[in-house]
Symmetry: C2
Subunit: 280 residues, 2 copies
């Protein structure tokens, strides 16, 4: 693991690292934010919020635009922010912004030419937490959150691995990718034509089938340009009502799909997770 950058921020450290991912079969960069006491109080272990970003993002969008470090420092929570896909010249890609590099959709691809590298589900669920927990002063208490494609990733990963997370939240998530253009394009390419394999990566389906329940907060802007065609929070809401899943879905008048929306409500999301992450 190689340190790429290190910057002091709200008394803590915002850092980028590069490592060779066995799961993704390529070098990967990720960001970590550690509150101040990591440097000062030996033996202290922080709980971790994993943040999954949306289409076209790297680890930098959330790090630079969300204003999360201020609240994470106050609460004593570490942040880990992976990239959104495998990267590199040897990694398959597509000219579209919504497929290939920058658009990993947090799944394990089964189709050519994607399956050699596109295994973001396994990377986020297993390899990255293992690396983080071996190398940083963090505990095994994890929460997961994300935005848009990353909101989809947070929902899917949290719902499928309730024993690994305390809580799940999402901004503007793709709630029902098996029934929207972004999801249909990506799942066709990565998972193939057999749609039964798609359901393991569909939050609305997973909520309707969940046997274990985690605290779940979703924030959605009402002026989001992708709301009706791509995000479909109503499908998640309907599934949660049918299965009795305790979804807290909040609609915010006037807000769009941008990081200005995330910045406006990240404190609420971090406080939501802190209620569960900091319980012992």
């Amino acid at each position: 693991m190689e340190l790429v950058s290190s910057t002091k921020c709200f008394d803590g450290l915002q850092r980028q690292y590069r490592h060779d991912s066995d799961v993704l079969n390529c070098p990967m960069r990720f960001a970590v934010y550690l509150p101040q006491e990591a440097e000062e109080e030996k033996g202290h272990k922080y709980p971790v919020l994993y943040w999954l970003s949306g289409l076209t993002c790297t680890d930098e969008n959330f790090s630079q635009k969300a204003g999360a470090q201020r609240v994470a420092a106050e609460l004593g929570i570490a942040l880990v922010i992976p990239d959104t896909s495998p990267r590199g010249e040897d990694v398959a890609d597509d000219p579209g912004y919504d497929l290939g590099q920058g658009a990993g959709f947090y799944l394990n691809a089964t189709q050519e030419p994607w399956k050699q590298h596109y295994r973001m589900y396994d990377y986020v669920v297993r390899e990255l937490p293992q690396l983080v927990e071996q190398n940083f002063p963090v505990s095994e208490r994890r929460a997961i959150a994300g935005h848009s494609m990353g909101g989809h990733g947070a929902l899917v990963i949290g719902l499928r691995n309730p024993e690994r997370y305390t809580s799940i939240s999402a901004f503007s998530p793709i709630c029902n990718p098996i029934a929207c253009p972004w999801g249909e394009k990506a799942f066709s390419a990565y998972l193939g034509a057999d749609k039964s394999s798609w359901e393991d990566y569909d939050a609305a389906t997973l909520v309707s089938r969940a046997s274990e329940q985690l605290p779940l907060l979703v924030s959605q802007g009402e002026e989001d340009q992708f709301l009706e065609e791509q995000l479909k929070p109503h499908a998640l809401e309907t599934a949660a009502e049918a299965s009795g899943y305790p979804l807290k879905l909040e609609h915010h008048a006037g807000y769009d799909h941008s990081y200005y929306f995330i910045a406006s409500f990240i404190e609420q999301h971090l406080c939501f997770h802190a209620d569960y992450l900091l319980k012992h």
Copy 2:
């Protein structure tokens, strides 16, 4: 004036506008943040903090990375964020990042080929406030702040126009541009070889000559890569001591030149300005 974008943020509105600048002789974009009540309480007028950005920036860097809207919304202060130079195909430029477009240095150029467009001093002091005060629910109470080249701009403009501003602040400003490589390169090009004309744009010189005093806060990171060669806060401190100017210069251990530093202390700067902006 044309609306380019409008995004809800912390209950207020973050907007970009384009207008034809008479002073700069080209179209210009700037950003405005207005707290919520602008929409709700007719007749209310906000005081304004003008933010001047550094080399290579546009109006977007501060808007997206500083986290200022949260505090501005709480305090009831509007933000106005101009671009850092004139722009466009017809505007003179230079291959360097530190001269030409993105590097206007907040001065009025007197030399060819710059003098047709590079008049950021007049633009920030007169044209932009006039436009803003005619078109938005703001008062004529103004404060000025900035970062790096924009910190230089804030110091120079505030020190030369104490009747127009309540208070001045800067992050990592270029304090003594007549004696550092960035300043020498830019001032030689824009102002010519006669160095006596440079002093009107040199904060250390202006502080030593100031007859009127404004509250002045400067924040400087001790791990700033440009500290010794380019920024020279010691020159400002020495001049302020000699002339009795009430400079509050704070050194922050471990912080660098980035927006992570600004984000960490923008609340302090906004509260500093609020003490003067909100006095009536």
